[in-house]
């Protein structure tokens, strides 16, 4: 995730002009959230329903033109939980199934499947969202969805300054390495932690300077937003077909 080259936040966006890219951010946010919720409430035994979700999600990934390699690389964030999921059948209780001489809990296998498929589906949706929507548009989308402006403003500041701070941290680190700093043990942690403390002070002072600069330019406490075109009803209907299909599959499976 970190890196000296490029930036953390802006690198998330994969430039393109696919159908997924063109969806208005607020519509995309709602659709993504709806699909993830439908996936999360689906009982784990409905394997067919999950099959439909996964195929549909992969179609969306293909349509977005992110690229398979990039998609899979971003999907690795769920690896720690995959590892946890693989442990469950071994430690789980209940009925046991004998696979190649190893007793696996049947319930545990179901639980493993449940976590794997839901986590992968949710992560896929987040990846598509952040890869096809520029951060500024996403923030506009949040504002139009009536997320408190204060919260959106804080998030936008955070995203604007992450890269600045990460690069500052990188510079501090490089200068430490250049002076022979090469820590391997916890008791050698002090210089890094102290530089994190220095980073906080610098960040805070930067925040104060930015605030004063904003006051000088007429800031009143809320960021002005440029009114941009709202999503049309037709677009809402067209995009919401996707979560609606997922919901329909869920209904068919459960009833």
């Amino acid at each position: 995730m970190s890196g000296a080259h490029g930036s953390t936040v802006t690198r998330l966006y994969v430039a393109g002009d696919s159908r997924i890219h063109r969806i208005s951010p607020e519509v995309k946010l709602v659709a993504v959230f709806a699909v993830v919720v439908v996936g999360a409430v689906t009982p784990r035994t409905e394997v067919v329903a999950f099959g439909v979700y996964v195929v549909a999600a992969l179609m969306v990934v293909a349509m977005s033109g992110i690229g398979l390699i990039k998609y899979l690389r971003r999907l690795t964030v769920i690896v720690p939980f995959i590892l946890f999921a693989f442990v469950i059948p071994f430690v789980g209780g209940g009925e046991k199934l004998n696979v190649a001489g190893v007793a696996l809990s049947v319930d545990g296998l179901w639980a493993m499947w449940n976590i794997l498929v839901k986590a992968a589906l949710g992560a896929t949706m987040s990846i598509v969202l952040s890869a096809t929507t520029p951060v500024t548009n996403l923030l506009h989308g949040l504002t139009r969805l009536r997320v408190p402006r204060l919260l959106v403003a804080i998030i936008s500041f955070m995203l604007r300054y992450i890269d600045v701070l990460v690069e500052q941290l990188g510079r501090m680190r490089r200068s430490m390495v250049a002076r022979g700093h090469d820590p391997r043990w916890l008791w050698q942690v002090k210089p890094i932690a102290s530089s994190a403390g220095a980073l906080f002070v610098r960040s805070y002072e930067r925040g104060e300077r930015v605030h004063q600069a904003m006051l000088a330019r007429g800031y009143t406490g809320v960021m002005p937003t440029i009114a941009s075109q709202r999503a049309s009803i037709n677009e809402w209907i067209a995009v919401m077909v996707y979560p609606a299909v997922c919901f329909g599959v869920l209904m068919l499976a459960v009833v």
């Binding site: 964030v77 204060l150 919260l151 955070m158 701070l165 960040s203 805070y204 800031y219």
Partner: protein, 326 residues
């Protein structure tokens, strides 16, 4: 700790989402009165700082690294409301943009990683601060201890949510033992890092630290009588002892003889016990050898988390009100 979608049952996701939502709404109001109109740039930059700090890997031992979580640090540096708000923003951004933590898991992720750590950490900080000398060393020591406790509280909160909405047949005592055991170690790292970061900030800009506002400038200059090192070592030893005792309690799985006894003799005794477990997820209590004991552990942990977090919320709102009146 960034749980993905489907990790806990939808009911728990919903309940925790409501709790987090309400506290977040309060935090947005309180942050306004604590910071005035400086809130937006400062909170935003502080959130970026926590995000960046979580990316810094610290060496733990030969090749293993850990990183700061920052909930208690944010609370001591910025005050509990702003601290909670800032860490919540980090958790939300990580879920939406970085797929780190599920969207439907935002309720319990925010609760465990931002709310419990900030308020639990703040309450611990206030309590420990009273026992410490009124110097900047005291602030650093109390902050470090609070950070360690906050991580363990967070793990306990997760285990309790597991009791209500487990998604896998892993018993509560196993999860509690493993989570709390591992997080005692993580908590030690968090305590050391928080202490060092705090002492770096206290050395250059003590006026920025909300948790040090009770000190006069003379007290800030005074040298602490207790050195940082003995204090840290002492609290680490204490934390390990507590962790070992708790996990022993929690992980007391039945031996073979007990198992047989339960299966044969006490089966009917188990069916009509007084505690109605229908409220709890079947998984988290199924396979638990001694339900009363594990519920007692869960209850004690729940009370500890609730008291500390609630205490943090109450004292935070009280101090905010007092500042408004002055």
């Amino acid at each position: 700790m960034h749980a993905p979608d489907g990790f806990l049952q939808p009911s728990v996701a919903l309940v925790t989402a409501v709790i987090s939502f309400v506290l977040l709404a309060f935090a947005l109001r309180h942050a306004g009165s604590e910071l005035g109109d400086r809130q937006v740039p400062l909170a935003g930059v502080a959130a970026a700082f926590i995000f960046a700090a979580q990316m810094v890997n610290f060496p733990v031992a030969a090749g293993t690294t850990g990183h700061l979580l920052g909930g208690a640090l944010a609370a001591v540096l910025l005050g509990p409301w702003v601290g909670m708000l800032v860490v919540s923003v980090v958790v939300i951004v990580q879920a939406i943009l970085f797929a780190d933590g599920g969207l439907t898991a935002l309720g319990y992720n925010t609760l465990n990683m931002a709310i419990v750590t900030a308020f639990g950490g703040w309450a611990t900080y206030l309590a420990v601060r009273k026992l410490m000398p009124r110097t900047s060393g005291g602030v650093v020591g109390a902050g470090a201890l609070a950070a360690g406790v906050s991580v363990v509280l967070s793990a306990a909160a997760f285990s309790i949510e597991w009791l209500f909405g487990a998604s896998a047949p892993v018993a509560f005592d196993t999860v509690f033992g493993a989570m709390v055991g591992v997080h005692v170690l993580i908590g030690i790292g968090e305590a050391v890092l928080t202490g060092l970061v705090l002492s770096a900030v206290m050395a250059s800009r003590p006026d920025l630290v909300v948790g040090a506002r009770h000190l006069t400038s003379d007290e800030l200059q005074a040298k602490s009588r207790i050195g940082m090192r003995p204090f840290l070592i002492g609290s680490i030893v204490a934390a390990v002892v507590v962790g070992v005792v708790i996990s022993q309690f929690a992980a007391s799985s039945p031996d073979g003889l007990e198992r047989v006894a339960i299966d044969t003799g006490f089966a009917e005794a188990a069916t009509d016990h007084a505690l109605d477990s229908s409220l709890f997820s079947d998984y988290a209590t199924a396979g638990v050898s001694n339900e009363a004991l594990s519920l007692a552990v869960a209850g004690t942990a729940g009370i500890a988390v609730t008291l500390l977090v609630g205490g943090g919320v109450v004292s935070a709102s009280r101090s905010a009100r007092r500042r408004q009146m002055v």
